[in-house]
Symmetry: C2
Subunit: 372 residues, 2 copies
């Protein structure tokens, strides 16, 4: 009998949030890479770029002029993916298999800071707290608009993640429908609460029921550091490489000490702890390959603030952030999720435990600020 070794034997793991699997092929990192490499990033960005449409005082593509902002700045995307209500009624389906529903909403851009050359990884924690306040304000303002059912806060960072401007910024898309992925996650969280007794030690979800993510985070925090998937934690939050991670250095960030449905539910201490762990994660990311680490980040939480008190759709969600970074081996060699991944199921080349161990080994002093 051969004994199963996750660092040698290909296997698949189940993601209980989505119901999908990931194929883990740990031995595969050994193969030589002859394919496309990413162009080196521009070094020494200026603090102010006269051609940047997000820098203070500059003019945007749509013609509007940015304020001389000193902290954060919010504006509506000049090329929004969804438009404000009222919209037309649903068209008749030409065939039962061909259905369409109109979607209304709004797309906001949030500049994190006036400095063109900084990122979350290089901002003081107090500046990150201001960004969290701004996320909360947009979540409340947009999420309380008539007809809005879902608010997605996210950040695309780095050219290889489709970001068209290095100026630190994120986006918020608000929609009249709950999109596929959060809808699936919420359905699976509900099903879990229905079918599982809560463990005695983990925080409980609404109505004293089991919360899948509270149970999961509680289990991970309790593991011996050297075997686990935890990258960094503080009194309120844990950042870990989930058991079912797809991207090489994927991170899930979530509260583990109590069930928290949204960023609007933070105590002041939680907000500070959240800002501080965001700083720690992004610094470690940059230090992993000594580069400005690309990723897509998104916040999953209660779809809109008005769902508060609804034990199912409103309170079942447990706040969590996904960080999906593409780099695999160096600042220029990424993982391509193509071919088999698009046609069959995601596949990864190192174990989540190996990735967590690498990230744990990274310093929390940003490599550009380190003095030897």
């Amino acid at each position: 009998e051969i004994e199963f070794d996750p660092t040698t034997h290909p296997h698949r793991r189940l993601n209980p949030l989505t119901g999908e699997h990931v194929l883990v092929s740990p031995h595969r990192t050994k193969r030589p890479w002859l394919g496309q490499t990413e162009p080196p990033q521009p070094l020494n960005l200026p603090q102010y770029d006269p051609k940047c449409y997000l820098c203070p005082g500059n003019t945007r593509a749509g013609g509007a002029r940015n304020e001389e902002y000193t902290q954060t700045m919010v504006f509506e995307n000049d090329y929004a993916a969804v438009l404000p209500p009222p919209g037309p009624a649903a068209p008749q389906a030409p065939h039962p298999l061909l259905t369409a529903e109109p979607v209304q909403g709004g797309c906001d851009v949030l500049c994190f800071h006036p400095r063109h050359d900084l990122t979350l990884a290089r901002l003081p924690v107090t500046d990150i707290e201001r960004i969290i306040d701004e996320w909360g304000a947009i979540y409340n303002r947009r999420g309380n608009q008539v007809g809005i059912q879902y608010v997605q806060i996210f950040e695309n960072k780095g050219a290889m993640m489709g970001c068209s401007n290095p100026h630190p910024h994120g986006q918020v898309w608000s929609l009249s429908e709950v999109p596929s992925l959060p809808a699936t996650e919420i359905a699976n969280l509900k099903r879990y609460a229905l079918n599982n007794a809560p463990s005695s030690s983990a925080p409980k979800g609404p109505e004293g029921k089991a919360c899948m993510l509270c149970e999961y985070a509680h289990f991970e925090v309790g593991m011996a550091e050297s075997e686990g998937r935890v990258v960094v934690k503080n009194n309120h939050f844990v950042a870990l490489v989930p058991w079912w991670a797809i991207w090489p250095f994927e991170i899930m960030l979530l509260p583990y000490a109590r069930h928290i449905p949204s960023i609007a539910d933070f105590t002041p201490a939680e907000k500070s702890a959240f800002a501080s762990i965001l700083s720690q994660i992004t610094k470690r990311y940059d230090n992993l390959f000594s580069c400005s680490f690309a990723y897509s980040m998104g916040i999953h939480q209660r779809p809109v603030p008005s769902k508060l008190g609804d034990p199912e759709d409103g309170d079942v969600p447990h706040l969590h952030l996904h960080f999906d970074p593409p780099l695999l081996r160096s600042a220029s060699v990424r993982k391509f999720l193509v071919g088999f991944e698009l046609m069959a199921e995601p596949q990864r080349d190192l174990t989540p435990e190996q990735a967590a161990s690498r990230l744990r080994g990274c310093s929390e002093v940003h490599y550009l600020d380190a003095t030897e």
Copy 2:
């Protein structure tokens, strides 16, 4: 009352194969693109490259030497994502949320042709027929191995799709489990057969039941060409931009004249028609932006040949190919499926009808072979 116009109003469409939605934002193609552009492709590749590990007679990374092949060549991937049986038994889950199952199988590489500089778009149709024969042979050989439950044939084409070598080739991964995406598709095809009466005119699935894809293809083929999503068709197959396409110029290729579960079920006439439409699709793709068009392509069909006669898992699948190409506006500007797409749901910037119309307008004479 505003009337719904799919080319103006953002809306979402349902993919009945996956149960997921795509957000369509047709007005969004107008935005300027300031982000990453793809490097130009190497022009004038040599017919033989002494450094290519897939060219006839050359030595591969693993040390083996390629035959002096004159048609196609198959070998086992030197860095396979799955390894042959026997494998270890499943490990004990450290927590009910942390499950893993071992996966066994094999990974084959199929060189389409000895010429380093050719692709499907530039191969004579008779050479494409040989590739189809080879796909059939691998599907039979691997799919009949003990313990193999699924065979995924696919091609990654182009550096931007993670392909590390321009030499024309595809891959075949065979696995002891049915991966997430085909498993979902088959479950939805079964559910459709159970819950829908077949239309009188479309071909029927097994046991005279409705086949979702036969119904869909039949409907699309019947539409007036100028309004529809059909790119090209012949007596047996249709290539169309599906109603629920995610990638800008995504194509689904499938038989519409009878229910065909796999490439092993082709009549000789169907095989020729399949080769010829593969040539037509890939030529149009190259002509769209006058470049060697990147894509991931995959074949979905009966999971393994031995499922023949099993009305559910074996005969319900209707053969279809997905082509997922990233380019959006030109040979160098792609669509990035990041941020909102990774966190919420896929979003596209032109309608499938607009994409189909563009592809219909392309010539079937390859731009490199066109003489003015």
